[in-house]
Homo-oligomer: 333 residues x 4
C-alpha cells in the first residue's frame, strides 16, 4: 500500500501531466482527481492521452481530498488558499498555483490583487538548502514555470557574486500550454501556429517571484508565446560582477542536482530536448560585444516547470529519492 | 544483473527512442549503442534529449554486439541482413527494419529490389497466436510503422469476416520522424511546417507488408507527410462482408491487449494522445452514405510503430510481461 | 469610381481573407464590413494582418449593405438566408455559407436541419458551363472548401466516363482555419499542434454538396483536422470506368482555367504551395495494386476554398476577367 | 515594355519570394532567374508555389544578367562581390547578401573573414535621408533581416536621445527560412517543430551591421530559431536617456513610412500578422520594474526582411512609388 495522493484541479494541462506522472509513480497511489465543470466525467474523456486510466473526476471539495496523504493543488491562481485552509493539518499539500509563493504581501497585492494568502516553503529544490526545507515542510508552494527557468539560470550567478543583480534582462518564450486550457480566441491553433506573440510586456505578474527567487533587484522580463505546445526557453542576461566563468559557477551549483544539466561547452539548450521530462538544460557565456553574461535555460513548462517539479517536491516531503517516478530524459523528436 | 542489450544504428530517430526506453527499462541493461558516421561521439551529443546518459557510440560491427543477450537493429532498410548473419545464434535479434518482414520474395524484389534476406517471425504481438511465436523466436522482424497502424485497424475485421479483403482503401498521414534523420531539402522545417504532402502515391513499398499482415487482397494505400514530428493517423475503409458492428469486432479482438485501446463510442483517435507511449487507439463505424466500414487508428510511429513495439517484442522473447518498461500513456498536450 | 462592395460577417477567418483581397482589388471598392459582437471595432484590431486599413466594423443589417453593388455573405451557416432576403434585388450577392448550395431540400434537412433556403447558382466556375451561369446570376452560392477540393479532383473524371461514381472514397485533411474562429477548447493551439484528428467520421454535412457537384452516387468522406492554419489536401479514389489516363482527362478539363494546375507527371500537390493564392493543384495516377484511380488535390481553404473563390465569382458577375485582383502564386515557405 | 529585372541566386527562399513579388509587379518585367545546381530546371519545379510561371533557371553568369536594367543578387554571403564586379556600371544592382553592407572593414574581417568587398548605399529606406540616397544610387546593399528588425525598433530612439546606445540587449527569434534552404540535419522539420533553439550566442555576425545601422555602441544580441517558416520577433531593450515616451518617438519617426506601423497603445506586434507582406509592426513601453525601454518589432524575414525590402529599394532606384508591387497586408491566419 503506497502513499495516497489526490489532485485538485486535474482537468487542466498541469493536472493532466500530474496524473500521467502519478499513474506511473512506484510509491504514490492516485486515489482521487477533482475537477470543476468536468466533474463526473472519466479522466480519459478529458485527457485522451490517459486512455485506459480507470478514474472519474470528483467535485473539488475538501471532503474528497482530506483522506489523502498528500494533495496537489493545480487550481487557477487565487483558488488554492481557500481550499488549502480546509484541509487537515496532517495532509501534506503541494500547490502548483501562485497563491503561496510570494513573501511580500505588497508585491502580491500589486501584481495579483486581493488579499495575500500567506507564504509557504518555496518548492524549488535546487536552491541552496531548499531540499531540507521542503523535506521538513507540510505545505509547499511549487515554483512557477517562468520563475523556475529564470531562477535556475540566474540565482547561482548572483549568489556567487558573478552577476550584478541590478540590471537583469530576460526574454522568455513559452509553449502555449503555459497559457492554460480555457477556450480563448487568441489561443486558437489558427492564431498561434506560425506566430510569436509577446504579452504583458513591461509588467508581468511573475516579476516579483523571479526577483525573490533569484536575488535580482532590477528586472526587465518579457514573455513571448511560441508556436509549440510545451517548453520554455529563457535568455537571461546580466552585467558581470567579477571576472568569473559563468558556466563554471553553474556547473558547480548543480553538481549534485540530478535534473539540472549544464551542457558541455558549445552545446546550447533547446526546448525539444526537455519535452516530457523533468530536466532543465543550461549553458552560459560572456557576450563578445557587450560583456554581458548570457545564460540560456530550457525546460518543459509542464514538467520541471509544473507537474514534474511538484512531484519532485512531494518525493522530498516523504523522504523518497527526489528522482522517484520522474525521468530526466526528454521525448524527442 | 539484468539482460544485456545492444542497439545497432542508434543515432537515428527510432534508435534514439529505443535508447530512451532502454535507459528506463527495469530488466534491460543497455551495454552498447552503435552508429556509423557518429561513432565516437557521446550519445547525448547526438540525442540531446538523453543529456546525462553516459554512453558513447561504437562502430557498428558484429564484435561490438555479439556480447549482448539481445540486439536491436535500427539500421537503414537493406543493411540488417548482412549484420544479423554475423551474430551468434545465441544472441536474440529484433530487427526494426524491413529486411526480414516479407514472406514473399517476389514482393520484396518488386518493391525493394535486391535479394530477399529471408523471413523472420513477424513482430506484431496483437495478431492471433503471435505472442507465442514471438516468445519462442530468436529472430523477430518488428513490424513497420504504417503496417502496424493499418494492421491493428483492419486484420480483425477481415479475419472475422466483417470486412471484404478485396477493395481496401487506406490514407495514412505520418509525422516527419517517419522519414528519418538524413538531411534532405524536402524535409526541412521550412518545407514541412504548414504542409501536407503525399508521397509514393500509387506504389508504396509498404503495400506487400500491409497485405501480408492484414489479409487484404486489394489495397490502395496513400501515405501523406504531416507537419508534426511524430504520429500516424490511418483512415482505413473496406466494404462490409456481413452486418456486423466493426467496433465490437475490434473490442473483442483486443480485449487482452494492454496497448491497443478501442475507444468508447463517439470518441475518435487522434495522434497527439499517443505521443511518447506504446499505445494504439482505434475507433470504427459504418459510413452513412456509402456503407463502407471506416476504421481510424492512431499511434506514435516511433513508439508502437517502432521502438516501443520492438521493446514489447523483446519483453516477450525473455518471458517478461509485455508491458515491462513501456507506458500506455501519451505525453500531451 | 469602382464597384461598391460590402462584406457581411467580416470578423471571421474567411471574412478577413476577403477584406485582404478586396483591399488590393483594382476594380472593387470596399465600402462596408460588418460584424456581430465586434461591431464598432476597427478592422485591424480584429485582423491585425490588415493593420493600416482604415475601416470600422458596422452592425450586420440590411441597411448597411443595401447601398453596395455586391455583398459578400461570410456568415455562419444558417444565417445567410434571412439577411439575403432583405437585400434589394439589384444588389448582387455571393454567399460563402452553405445555405443556398444544395438543390435537394431533403439532403439539406437531413444534414443541416431546418427549412431549406432555396438554391442559388453554384459558384464553382471551373464546372462546365458554370462561368456563363455565374456571369448571368445575381445570387451565387460559392462552393464550400471541401467540396471545391474534391469536385475539382473528381468531377471531370466522372463526367468523362473515366471513373465510376458508385464507390468514391475521400480522405481530406484541412488546416484549422476551416473550423472557424470561435473559441473552442479542442481547437486551442495546445491541442491541435502535433495532432491529426478526424471528425464527423461517417456522416459529414458536406457529403450531399460533394455528391451534387461531382456526380458521385456513393461517397465515403472522412475529414481530418491537421496541424496547420490553412490548406486542404484531399486524396480522392474511385474505381476506373475505362482505360483512360486520369491525368490527361484533368489536364484537358482545366486547359482554360487559370487557377487550376494539373502538375507535371511525377510532381504531387502539397498544401504549402497554394497558401495565400487562389490556385488548386492536381495530380492523378492509377494505383499499382488496386487499380483505383487516385487524384490528389491541394488548395488554400481560405483562398480557392472560400474568399478567393468568392472574389472569382464576383469578377465573373461583373464581366471582369476572373483573375482580377487574385493571385495564382502561393506564399511559401 | 517595363523595366527589365534579373535575379541571381533565385533558387533559395529569398530568391523564391523575390520571384513571387516580381511576377506580380506592374512595372518590372522578370527576364531572367539564375541558379547554381538547379540551373536548367523550371522555376516551378524548385518553387512549387510558383506553379504556372513559365521560366527556367539559367546558370549564374554575368552574361545572363548584363542585359537587365536591374539585377537582384540573392546569393550566399561572400558570393556577391565577384559577380557584381563583372556587371556593367549601367546595370543597377540590389544585393540581398551581406557583402556590401558594412562600412568597417575590420568588423567584416572579424565576423565574416576574408577581404571586404566595399560598402554600398545601405538599403533601409526608413532611415533618415536614406530614400534619397537609395534613389540616387546604382548599387544598394539591402539590409539583413535581423538588422532591419532591430534597426526599425531602435534607431529612432537613439537618434532622438531617448535611449542610451551603450547597453542594448536584444533577443530576436526567427522562423526557419532565415536559415536558408540547404539540407542540414539540425534544420529538419523533425528537429525544429516544437523547438526553440538559440544559436551563435554571444557572437553573431549581424552584430556589426546592427550597431552601424542603429548607432548602438554596446549590444548583446541573442538569436533564436523558432518553429515557424517565417517571421522575426525582436525584443529590444535599452536604458532610457530621457523621460520620453518611446512610442511617440517611433510614431513620429515613421509617420511617412507606409510599411512601418506603430501599433495603437495596448496592441503588441506578433509575427503572423506580417506574413507575406512588406510591413513591420512596432510597439514600445517603459518597463515597470527596471525602467528600461522595451520595443518589440515583428516582420516577415523574407518580406520586409529580404525580398520585399529589396523590391522597395528597387522601386526607389527607378523613381517609382516605394509601395509599387508590394503589399502592407499580411496573410493570416
Amino acid at each position: 500500500m503506497g502513499i495516497r495522493i489526490a489532485v485538485a484541479g486535474a482537468s487542466g494541462y498541469a493536472g493532466g501531466e500530474l496524473l500521467r506522472l502519478l499513474a506511473g509513480h512506484p510509491e504514490f497511489d492516485l486515489v482521487a482527481a477533482t475537477a470543476h465543470s468536468q466533474a463526473g466525467q472519466r479522466v480519459d474523456a478529458v485527457h485522451p492521452q490517459l486512455t485506459g486510466l480507470d478514474l472519474t473526476f470528483a467535485q473539488t471539495t475538501a471532503d474528497v481530498l482530506a483522506d489523502a496523504d498528500l494533495v496537489f493543488l493545480a487550481l487557477p491562481h487565487g483558488e488554492s488558499a481557500a481550499l488549502a485552509a480546509q484541509l487537515p493539518a496532517g495532509v501534506r499539500v503541494v500547490d502548483l498555483g501562485a497563491d503561496h509563493r510570494l513573501a511580500d504581501s505588497a508585491a502580491w497585492a500589486s501584481y495579483y490583487g486581493g488579499p495575500h494568502a500567506g507564504t509557504w516553503t518555496y518548492g524549488l529544490p535546487e536552491l541552496p538548502g531548499q531540499r531540507e526545507r521542503i523535506a521538513a515542510a507540510t505545505r509547499v508552494a511549487s515554483t512557477g514555470c517562468y520563475a523556475a527557468t529564470v531562477t535556475l539560470a540566474l540565482a547561482p550567478l548572483i549568489a556567487a557574486g558573478a552577476a550584478q543583480p541590478t540590471d537583469v534582462v530576460v526574454v522568455a518564450a513559452s509553449g502555449t500550454s503555459g497559457a492554460g486550457r480555457a477556450a480563448k480566441a487568441h489561443l486558437l491553433g489558427s492564431e498561434v501556429m506560425g506566430d510569436l506573440s509577446p504579452y504583458k510586456v513591461g509588467a508581468h505578474q511573475h516579476v516579483p517571484e523571479i526577483k525573490q527567487a533569484t536575488g535580482a533587484t532590477g528586472l526587465s522580463f518579457t514573455p513571448v508565446l511560441a508556436p509549440m505546445p510545451r517548453g520554455i526557453l529563457a535568455t537571461v542576461t546580466a552585467l558581470p560582477a567579477a571576472d568569473t566563468d559563468p558556466r563554471a559557477v553553474l556547473a558547480q551549483a548543480y553538481a549534485d542536482s540530478p535534473f539540472v544539466h549544464v551542457l558541455p561547452e558549445g552545446r546550447w539548450p533547446h526546448t525539444a530536448a526537455t519535452l516530457g521530462g523533468n530536466s532543465c538544460h543550461l549553458q552560459a557565456t560572456v557576450d563578445a560585444d557587450s560583456g554581458r553574461l548570457i545564460v540560456v535555460a530550457a525546460l518543459d513548462n509542464l514538467g520541471k516547470g509544473a507537474a514534474g517539479q511538484a512531484v519532485q517536491n512531494a518525493n522530498l516531503m516523504f523522504g523518497l529519492p527526489e528522482t522517484t517516478g520522474l525521468s530526466t530524459w526528454g521525448v524527442a523528436p
